[in-house]
Subunit: 205 residues, 4 copies
DNA sequence: AATGAATGAGCCTTCATTCAT
DNA sequence: GATGAATGAAGGCTCATTCAT
């Protein structure tokens, strides 16, 4: 799946990166606050620190901004999770990976919300690209789980690998989606412990 | 939490109910297709079968329509789940309840998606009301779980009751949110079996 | 060639006709003054006597307005020329027809200018429709000329019929296009006499 | 009428000429294709082969480009017609001049169209200058006609001289404006013959 | 109670022009 | 002299909402 491309009239590639960073950073704030549809391009430009004309030197449509935002969040998540790519094939390694993932979500809770609530507004091609990235994250956990299995540290039906991976992601998203309910009752640490136990005991023989 | 009230200029309460039913039924279709923001009030009126003027005799703002839709979906879900309110305190009863819930979600998948993706656009008061309903559903499962526990059929820490209930809801929503990925690999039956085992084995001693 | 259709959201067909009349009448004034591109839709609405929103109940794009204007002018011209459709097969009858045509152009000089200078901005389909109408006018004169020939009152090669008809139209348009130069030196009457002589003597044996 | 002046910040007069040549040459292409209003200054700069900033070193406004284009076309036409300035006072000489003029138009048909359809967008002063040039061309033909008359080769009322000259120009423009209709029926040669006969027989005793 | 024409604030986007480098 | 990033006024168009009939 090729990266969805956002056209810019500006030639200096470095500047384009910098400006898009500004756009994305500003837009998330606004999207968190009012959602994609209620945010105007003028507000986005203002928040990014330049004029509406300049904004449109770096994007072609408002939807491009949404894509930029989603793309940035994913890359950030991926980057933060990349450190997990260790070779610890124990269940403990899995636990750590899950915990790390929850942490990332906890820190980027707002961004997650935006991404999941607004990505449906992406144009088709961009949406497919984002879904691909989502699958990549599922795969990342599938790999970790399989390594545990191959090392004989986890016993689990082959059908359940994918489901468990999905489940890890979803339980993480739950911490973001339902924080209005969950944070009244649980700390991140407690939530992590309970969920991880649920997942791992659930799949263990 | 009092029900969020939608003002109408029409006196005949029965007619109001009937018309709102029409509005909601038509609007869901549109929201499923294009989302709340991309759907116009004119389209809603047309789908409902009457004029834009008439639409505004039964609602005050477009957001009222969204509320009507969310409210209707919740009521439908609640109604379908109400049959579960039995006194079967066995783990098997819990299994059946979960399965029933998944079934409902499977049948109303589109409506679920709408509700969860668009409810953030509700005005504050209405949003709170909807969240309340969500919590009521969590509670419904908490009650079933507690009954199992009190009957000695399930052993589980007190902290985990609420979380397990949330978990049931979320795993159900997952079937709706991630159908693009999950339905390629699982049937509803298989999904139900695996998830239920996960949940129940996870919480059992 | 089917009439190019302009969509309207308003159902009352009579009202649509009335409003479009208003739009066209107002728009010509503005187009005469500033041309199509320099006229804004807001100005068109204001000149027509209603709000921008109302304007867009009767057209879909700004180009529709241009089409309305061109269509109206053509119909007006055609209506005014329709009285010529007599059965006078003499050269005198041709003279009268030409004179009548020049008169119409003289009275609608501004409208003519607009039509010929702006019609290139019409969307393709509408442009073709307008050209068709132009050809119909050529044909109208061809018919009159042929009748003269068949009655033995005019002798002219078959190839030259069409060209003479075009020539009549163009010499008429010349009175509109070059008025800045011609009106200094000629009255309409004098211009008509000279041109007609030129045309008729030119084609006569 | 003094030549309309286009200001430039660049001192080197030779460079200015060269650059403006580039601008004009590129712009005609674009104007032919999309018209003056739909062509952007960026496109003009690109087509000319340099940056938008550089473009504005040689013009002050977009309208200056239009003026440059119109001026260039006129000069080209004038240059091509200058060879006609012979001393052949026969009717044959007039025929040749007309034929030569039609040829030029046939070759520069697109440019003609641009000039006549877009010159109304020129600022007032520039428009007057262009009209002056148009009159100069009329005069050029008037002179040829008068020479024929004085040599006793053509008999024509004094009033008709100017009109005939105008007519020659307009019949030439007609070949450009109405090519969509005329070229289906006539070759340039045939068109030239018929039109010239019409003009000359028409004015001859 | 129903209709649908009218309204206008406000949105996204373009593009001529400027100016610091 | 050349460049191209920045600007913001202005344009076309939409759509939630109202109100006279």
């Amino acid at each position: 799946m090729p990266k969805h491309e956002v056209k810019s009239t500006v030639k200096d590639e470095e500047l384009v990166q910098k400006r898009r960073e500004q756009i994305s950073r500003g837009a998330v704030k606004l999207f968190i606050d009012k959602g994609f549809h209620r945010t105007t391009t003028r507000e986005i430009a203002k928040e990014a620190g330049f004029s509406i004309g300049t904004l449109y030197e770096y994007i072609r449509t408002k939807e491009d901004v949404l894509y930029l935002v989603c793309d940035n969040i994913y890359n950030e998540v991926k980057f933060r999770l990349s450190e997990l790519d260790n070779n610890d094939n124990t269940v403990e390694g899995l636990r750590v990976a899950i915990a790390r993932y929850y942490e990332v979500i906890d820190q980027m809770s707002d961004e997650f919300l935006v991404m999941y609530q607004e990505s449906k507004s992406l144009p088709n091609e961009a949406l497919r690209y984002v879904l691909t990235k989502e699958l990549e994250m599922v795969e990342q956990f599938e790999i970790i789980i399989r390594k545990c299995m191959e090392a004989g540290n986890l016993h689990i039906g082959p059908d359940e690998v994918s489901l468990t991976a999905h489940h890890i992601l979803v339980s993480g998203q739950m911490w973001s989606f339902r924080r209005w309910a969950l944070r009244k009752q649980y700390t991140l640490q407690r939530y992590t412990k309970i969920q991880t136990d649920l997942i791992i005991k659930g799949v263990e023989k």
